[in-house]
Symmetry: C2
C-alpha cells in the first residue's frame, strides 16, 4: 500500500508534467507549425525550463509524436461507434453529433490533425493511415447495406462520410474565419446545437431520410 502510494505520487509528477507539456506543445504546434514551435516556446508556455522538457521527451519530434498520438486517441474516444442496428438515420445523427461536439470541445486536436494531413501526413505512422482507411470503408459498407436494403437513398457512402467529416471539422479548423464572418470573439454554447441541427437536417434530407 505504502509502495503503491509512492509509485502513484512520482507517477503523478511525471504524468502531470508530461500532460502540461503536451497541452503547451499542442498550442504551439497549432500556432507556429512543427518547425516554428521551439522547445523554448513550449517550455515557456508550460512554465518549465527548457531542459526539463527535454528530460521528459527525448527530443522535439517525440513531443510532436506524443501530441499526434494524443490527438488520434481523442478522436478515437470521441467518435462513438455506429452499428448495423442503428439504421441510417440514427447513424448519421450520432456521427454528426459526436463530430461537431469534438470540433467545439477540442479544436486544437482537430487543427493539428488537419495540418498534419495538409502537409502530407509526413509524421503519421502507416498504421494510423491504414486504420483510418479501414474505419471509413467499414462504415461505408454499413451505409451500402442500408442503401441495398432500401433504407436510404442511393448516395456514394464514401463521399457521404467525407461530407460529414469535412463539414463538422470545419468549425474547428476554420474557427478564425468563421468567427470573423459571424463577427464574434468566440463561439457560444448554443452554436454547437445550432450547427448540429443544421447539418443533421441538411444531410438527412440529402440522404432522403427526412
Amino acid at each position: 500500500m505504502k509502495n503503491n502510494k509512492e509509485i502513484k505520487k512520482t507517477g503523478n509528477i511525471r504524468v502531470q508534467s508530461q500532460h502540461k507539456i503536451l497541452i503547451a506543445a499542442s498550442t504551439e504546434f497549432v500556432l507556429q507549425g512543427y518547425k516554428g514551435a521551439t522547445v523554448q516556446s513550449i517550455a515557456d508556455r508550460a512554465g518549465l525550463p527548457k531542459a526539463n522538457i527535454l528530460y521528459y521527451f527525448k527530443n522535439k519530434e517525440n513531443i510532436y509524436h506524443a501530441v499526434l498520438e494524443h490527438t488520434l486517441q481523442m478522436w478515437d474516444e470521441g467518435i462513438g461507434d455506429i452499428t448495423p442496428e442503428d439504421g441510417p438515420k440514427a447513424a448519421i445523427e450520432k456521427f454528426i453529433d459526436a463530430k461537431v461536439r469534438m470540433s467545439f470541445k477540442h479544436p486544437e486536436s482537430s487543427k493539428i490533425y488537419a495540418m498534419e494531413i495538409i502537409q502530407g501526413a509526413q509524421h503519421l505512422k502507416d498504421f494510423a493511415r491504414t486504420y483510418q482507411r479501414k474505419w471509413v470503408r467499414e462504415k461505408a459498407q454499413l451505409f451500402q447495406k442500408w442503401i441495398d436494403n432500401g433504407e436510404m437513398r442511393d448516395v456514394d457512402p464514401i463521399h457521404l462520410i467525407f461530407l460529414i467529416w469535412s463539414s463538422t471539422q470545419h468549425y474547428a479548423d476554420f474557427e478564425t474565419q468563421i468567427l470573423t464572418i459571424m463577427n464574434r470573439a468566440e463561439y457560444e454554447e448554443e452554436d454547437v446545437e445550432h450547427v448540429i441541427s443544421f447539418l443533421t437536417d441538411m444531410i438527412l434530407r440529402g440522404c432522403g431520410l427526412k
Copy 2:
C-alpha cells in the same frame, strides 16, 4: 517600339523568375510550413541560387506575402459570381462547381489558405478578412431573399455557405487522406465530375430544391 520590346524582355525575366519562385515557394510552404520552408529549399526547388531569391524578394516574409496574395487572387478569379437572377438552384450549382474545380486544379492554394486560417490568420491582412466577411454576408443575403420569396427551404444561409465551402475545399486540403482511403495514387479526371454531382445533389436536396 524598340524600347518597348526591350522593356518587355527584361520585364519577362523578372516576371518569369518571380513566378518560378512563387510556385516553388508555394510547394515548400505547404510541405514544411512557414518556418520550416527555408529560403535555401525554395531556391533549390526553383533551381536558382539563394541570393537570387533574395534579390527578387526582400526577405522570406515577402515571399510568403506574395504567395498569399497569389492565392487570394486565384480564389477571387476562380469563384464565379452569384447574382440575384440566378435563383437558388443555379447559384448553388455554380458555386459548388467553381469551388470543386478550384480544389482539384489548385490544391496548393487551398492548402496554403487553410493553413493560414488554422494558424489564426496571423499573416492575413485586415482587408482580406473584411473582404471575406463582406462576401459571405452579401451572398447570404441573396439566399435569404430567395428564402423569403419561398424559392427555397428556410435554412441558415451563412451555415449553408460554410457547408459548401468546407465540403468542396476538403478535396484539396485532405487530398492525402482521401487518396489513402480510396487507395489511389492521385485523383483522376472523372473524380471531379463525380464529386460535383454528389455534392450538388446532396445540398440541393438539403435545401429542398430537388
